[in-house]
């Protein structure tokens, strides 16, 4: 230790280590290894052991069980048993339990912070000031939801046993994001922490015991990817929640396809960090520090694509480089360090590899000059210059402290570059001009947008992505829905939908037109125009008695491609005002009404009685009115996030291009029941109508033509239902897909949707009663037709 006189010369910070003696004591108590936490106590496992290493020095600090399928089995059993009573508890009783968990976490906040730092490598500043306080906050907030769930979510109930798989970057915080809402909504859970970082989850299990949580409500099974796969595959699990890589998320989507399991995925990102020319540059420089050099850059929502307006590019980069000089990397328990080690040598190798690639591709690497410790998985804060939109370091998620920079000329170009990615998790936008900032926020396709700020989190706001960053939200009201299911879906008629009949282009003679009318050809409807099917074939449409009454176009892949292309171009529908969309929907109803007799006739021709046909047309008009009414009323929220002078706006945004596969029953009513909520929220749709009764839809485009529906907003492709569904499910420009067919088709759709991780809504082959308003219409349809974008707006002068 230098003398006071010496320090007066150097004015160095000196070492400031946080003591870890209490955590070491705890680890010593568990020297023989941890079991799983099942049914309220720690149980031994026959499984092999996994070593847990301290990333700052590579020392082994604990060993945990590498969970076997039989361990998962026991845990799911315990959770299922506990579900019976836990789900029946009053909201108040569940609230008391969640409140107790929050209190106990606060009582052990320093212990948990130090343990997290030793296990994960994040700095003690972050675990102490960010992670652990947010954990407690999450449980407090959700104690409130437990209390209110019955009244705030009328008509919804818990899902059942939830399997939750969390990553290593925010171990205890991700646990809180998973467990708190699940428990609040009345579910029980089996949680698998990440292989690298299982320790705070095990400490949390102790807290569950201390806090008197009923046995089996929370179960923790440690292990690697195979343990996770066993949990995903388990039939007793009703819902899977996963946070992790897009690659694993895709596998889970495929693995759960057709299982009926509810699924939420919070995956990777390559988020833009956009600096406009009127920004407070110093503020944005600090933003970069908090964005990509936070948690060693191992943050899914990190702003890793630095887009700077060309007019200030040089000035900004100069300041950023200067700022990098004062960053400190080292022992994460030292209170004066900005960055610790990466989580594991594997991660370090990955980051090094990508950085090497960046250099080979011509990027210029700038790194903080700070000394790095000789031992441990340390990597210096890094900035790539001379990179382009196609550079690997600009397109691939690095998950390390590396940001790549490029310039843009105009706000328009910034939006284009920002959205030019397969991800859509977050965006950090910097401008002192309200117009520039809000327009950019509206245009960027991301679930979380921070204006003049970055990496802000709170239990009251939803977090989750667009596109291949996953689906579902965590936090806030929107997050609760991931752990609830609508009663009407749970109790919907169990009548099974039939597999579709095979269609042939070989047609028979139709019944002659009785009144000598001119022959009408039912075509496809693409981009506001009638289009002949690309195949050049039609298929026979038969009435209830099996007589051929005409031919409909046999749509194929290329027709779907053209329809999606038309829908993509019709973006004006998504940005039209809600009032404008409502007017168009009302106009559709008006024009359908004036042709009501025609539709009644068509329905009777297909075999319906006149009264049933009249009833269907009447119900359809009413349904269109319902969604016209909702168009400007199903709006967003302002979340009460935990900070002063800050507002968080939760927008309900359309997906963009949606695919809709209609059932056979009630062909007119089911079609409008599915199309109208999607349109009302601003989506452009490609719809496959009832395969057996397509004329209702081909007649309907006459209604659309006269109702000011913009070209391409509503496209209709007739033909073989599941072939068309498969093409739509495979299509990377389709962001969401609703499927009403048989169970096999539902599984196929979910499986194929893994390609771009589109949001899907299938009914597992169940048939709905479209005349029953509790099943056929309602807010659930609107909720499923949009994704929530949270825009964080700190303000103040």
């Amino acid at each position: 230790m230098p003398s006071v006189t010496e320090v007066l010369q150097t004015m160095d910070y000196g070492p400031a280590p946080e003591s870890n003696s209490i955590v070491k004591e705890w680890l010593a108590q568990h020297e023989k290894g941890f079991g799983h936490f099942i049914g309220g106590s720690f149980v031994a496992s026959k499984a092999s052991k996994l070593d847990v290493l301290n990333p700052a020095n590579g020392d082994k600090i604990a060993s945990v069980a590498n969970g076997l399928p039989e361990d998962v089995e026991k845990a799911v059993e315990a959770a299922a048993k506990a579900f019976k009573s836990w789900s029946k508890l009053s909201g108040f009783e569940r609230a008391k339990h969640l409140y107790a968990l929050a209190r106990h976490i606060q009582k052990r906040e320093r212990f948990l912070s130090v343990l997290e730092t030793m296990d994960n490598g994040k700095t003690i500043r972050e675990s102490r000031d960010i992670d652990i306080p947010l954990v407690a906050r999450h449980f407090y907030h959700h104690a409130g939801w437990a209390q209110l769930a019955e009244t705030e979510f009328k008509g919804y109930g818990p899902v059942g046993v939830c399997g939750q798989i969390i990553p290593w970057n925010f171990p205890l915080l991700m646990l809180a994001w998973k467990i708190a809402p699940a428990l609040a909504a009345g579910n029980t859970v089996v949680l698998k922490p990440a292989e690298f970082t299982p320790l705070t989850a095990l400490a949390f299990a102790e807290i569950c015991m201390e806090a008197g949580l009923p046995p089996g409500v929370v179960n923790v099974v440690t292990g690697d990817g195979k343990t996770g796969a066993a949990l995903v595959a388990h039939k007793g699990v009703a819902k899977i929640a996963f946070t992790g890589s897009t690659e694993v998320g895709r596998m889970i989507r495929q693995q759960t396809a057709g299982s009926g399991k509810k699924l939420s995925l919070e995956l990777g990102g390559k988020s833009p960090f956009i600096v406009f020319e009127d920004t407070d540059l110093d503020a944005a420089v600090e933003g970069v520090v908090d964005s990509v050099w936070f948690n060693q850059g191992q943050v899914c929502c990190a702003g890793t694509r630095l887009l700077v307006q060309e007019s200030i590019y040089e000035a900004f980069i100069a300041r950023l480089k200067k700022r990098m000089e004062t960053l400190r990397v080292g022992d994460p328990l030292d209170k004066s360090n900005d960055m610790g080690p990466l989580v594991d040598p594997v991660q370090l190798a990955r980051v090094r590899g990508l950085v090497e690639k960046g250099k080979q591709e011509g990027g210029t690497l700038v790194q903080s000059p700070c000394p790095l410790p000789a031992k441990g998985n340390f990597f210096a804060p890094s900035l790539f210059l001379d990179t382009e939109a196609a550079s690997t370091v600009m397109t691939d998620e690095i998950f390390g402290p590396v940001i790549a920079a490029m310039s843009f000329r105009t706000p328009d170009e910034a939006a284009t570059l920002a959205n030019h990615t397969r991800y859509g998790l977050a965006a950090s936008l910097w401008s002192e001009n309200l117009n520039v900032a809000l327009e950019a926020a509206a245009r960027v396709k991301a679930g979380v947008v921070w204006l003049n700020s970055t990496n802000l989190f709170d239990a009251a706001a939803g977090f989750g992505g667009y596109k291949e960053s996953g689906f579902g939200r965590e936090g806030g009201r929107e997050g609760l829905y991931e752990y609830l299911q609508a009663d009407w879906i749970a109790s919907a008629a169990t009548a099974k939908a039939e597999p579709p009949k095979k269609l042939s282009g070989a047609t028979e003679a139709a019944l002659p037109a009785s009144d000598g009318a001119i022959d009408r050809t039912a075509k496809l409807y693409i981009g506001g125009k009638q289009a002949r099917p690309d195949s050049g074939y039609s298929y026979d449409v038969k009435n209830a008695k099996g007589k051929v009454i005409g031919q409909a176009g046999l749509g194929n892949r290329k027709d779907v491609r053209n329809a999606v292309e038309a829908a993509l171009k019709a973006s004006a529908w998504s940005s039209a005002s809600a009032h404008n969309r409502a007017q168009v929907l009302y106009f559709i109803a008006e024009n359908l009404n004036s042709r009501a007799d025609e539709f009644v006739k068509r329905l009777t021709e297909m075999g319906a009685s006149t009264s049933a046909a009249r009833r269907e047309v009447g119900a359809s008009l009413q349904r269109i009115f319902y969604y016209a009414a909702q168009a400007d009323k199903y709006d967003g929220r302002i979340h009460s996030t935990n900070a002063k002078r800050q507002t968080t706006l939760a927008f309900n945004e359309p997906f963009g291009v949606m695919g809709i596969i209609c059932p056979d029953e009630a062909p007119l009513l089911s079609m409008v029941s599915l199309a109208m909520p999607a349109l009302a929220m601003g989506n452009r749709i490609t719809l496959v109508p009832s395969q057996s009764q397509p004329f209702i839809a081909t007649d309907f485009y006459q209604v659309l033509d006269t109702s000011d529906v913009p070209d391409g907003a509503f496209n209709i492709i007739t033909g073989a239902r599941d072939e068309l569904a498969k093409t739509l499910a495979d299509h990377d420009e389709v962001a969401a897909l609703w499927y009403h067919g048989n169970a096999g088709g539902a599984a196929m759709v979910e499986n194929a949707s893994a390609g771009n991780l589109k949001s899907t809504w299938v009914f597992g082959g169940k048939r709905l009663d479209w005349f029953d308003a509790t099943q056929g219409e309602g807010a659930e349809y609107l909720r499923r037709a949009c994704q929530v974008k949270n825009i964080w707006i700190p303000y103040g002068e």
Partner: protein, 329 residues
């Protein structure tokens, strides 16, 4: 014009070329953006990102003490009170503490700061100590007396022996964005200071917005200030970390434009050793090591010194100290 003025020999100056000022350069600040929320976040996290312990902490506290402008600016100041303060300025620590810290000699504070009519008493009391006397001037604290009187007040204080003059700016000129008028007044004050070292008090609590703080800082430096200072201690809001951060960024930008090194002085409301540490960390992170010396950094304070003494005693003895065990200022 002050540009031609000879480098002063007075106390409180450093070896760098003295700020010669520049003609008013509106383009250096007119479009300056300062995002308040971001500045607050940076200020809040700055002091949680660094921690200084043990010998290091003791040394940092000694450094803070050496940067203090030990101040009395009260209506009931008397020659006796000022003399007592000067005694404390010369011997801020007990001998046993100096010895316990292993310091080669008794350190002293940066300066003693008083009203103009008290300057002569302070000069007398500090004779031979090497400690400069700073005087507030220009109608402190409101700065609303007529300009000739404000300039005369500066000259009076300099004649009385003040080596440093803490002037106050005319806040209305900032609130009305009258940059030419502000520049002219401050430049005139700098000229009136002659060889004395000039600290421009912006009274940031009155300016309200960080944008105003940045702009006023820049004009004050362009007009030739040697130091920029946050507050008189009499505004509703005194020195804060976000305000200080904004002034330091202006200071850094001015340095990039001109090459001149300007000093910084937070004042008002800094009372504890913890405050001292926070501001030292701010200086080191934003400006670097060089700005931790009294020729470029001062802390306007009075009660802070006692708290530093107690912390240093605790460092040496491991026991918490009583205020009454240290000589009163």
């Amino acid at each position: 014009m002050l540009h031609q003025q000879a480098a002063p020999s007075g106390l409180g100056h450093n070896s760098f070329p003295r700020n010669a000022g520049t003609p008013l350069q509106l383009e250096w600040f007119e479009n300056q953006q300062v995002n308040t929320s971001a500045a607050e976040r940076r200020a809040a996290s700055l002091t949680t990102r660094r921690s200084v312990k043990k010998e290091y902490q003791a040394a940092w506290l000694v450094k803070a003490m050496q940067c203090i402008d030990l101040t009395t600016l009260a209506g009931d100041d008397t020659p006796g009170r000022v003399t007592r303060l000067c005694a404390k300025a010369k011997r801020p620590l007990r001998d046993d503490i100096v010895e316990g810290l292993g310091l080669p000699e008794m350190p002293h504070v940066g300066a003693v700061c008083v009203y103009p009519t008290m300057v002569s008493h302070a000069v007398k009391a500090l004779k031979g100590s090497g400690i400069p006397v700073a005087s507030v001037a220009t109608g402190f604290p409101a700065g609303l007396t007529p300009l000739p009187m404000r300039l005369a007040e500066i000259k009076y204080a300099v004649e009385q022996g003040a080596g440093e003059i803490d002037i106050v700016i005319h806040r209305a000129q900032v609130l009305l964005q009258e940059w030419n008028a502000l520049y002219d007044e401050v430049a005139a004050m700098r000229e009136a200071c002659g060889p004395a070292h000039m600290k421009a008090i912006l009274a940031t609590g009155d300016l309200k917005t960080l944008r105003n703080v940045y702009k006023a800082s820049m004009v004050a430096m362009q007009a030739g200030s040697d130091f920029i200072k946050t507050s008189t201690g009499k505004e509703d809001v005194n020195a804060t970390l976000p305000v200080s951060l904004t002034m330091l960024r202006a200071l850094r930008d001015y340095r990039e434009h001109t090459g001149f090194n300007i000093g910084f002085k937070p004042a008002g409301g800094l009372k504890t050793a913890k405050d001292a540490m926070n501001w030292l960390i701010l200086m080191k992170e934003e400006m670097g090591r060089r700005w931790l010396e009294p020729d470029l950094f001062r802390i306007g304070a009075s009660s802070m010194l006692s708290d530093i003494e107690r912390q240093l005693e605790h460092f040496i003895t491991g026991r918490y100290a009583a205020l009454s065990h240290h000589p009163v200022a």
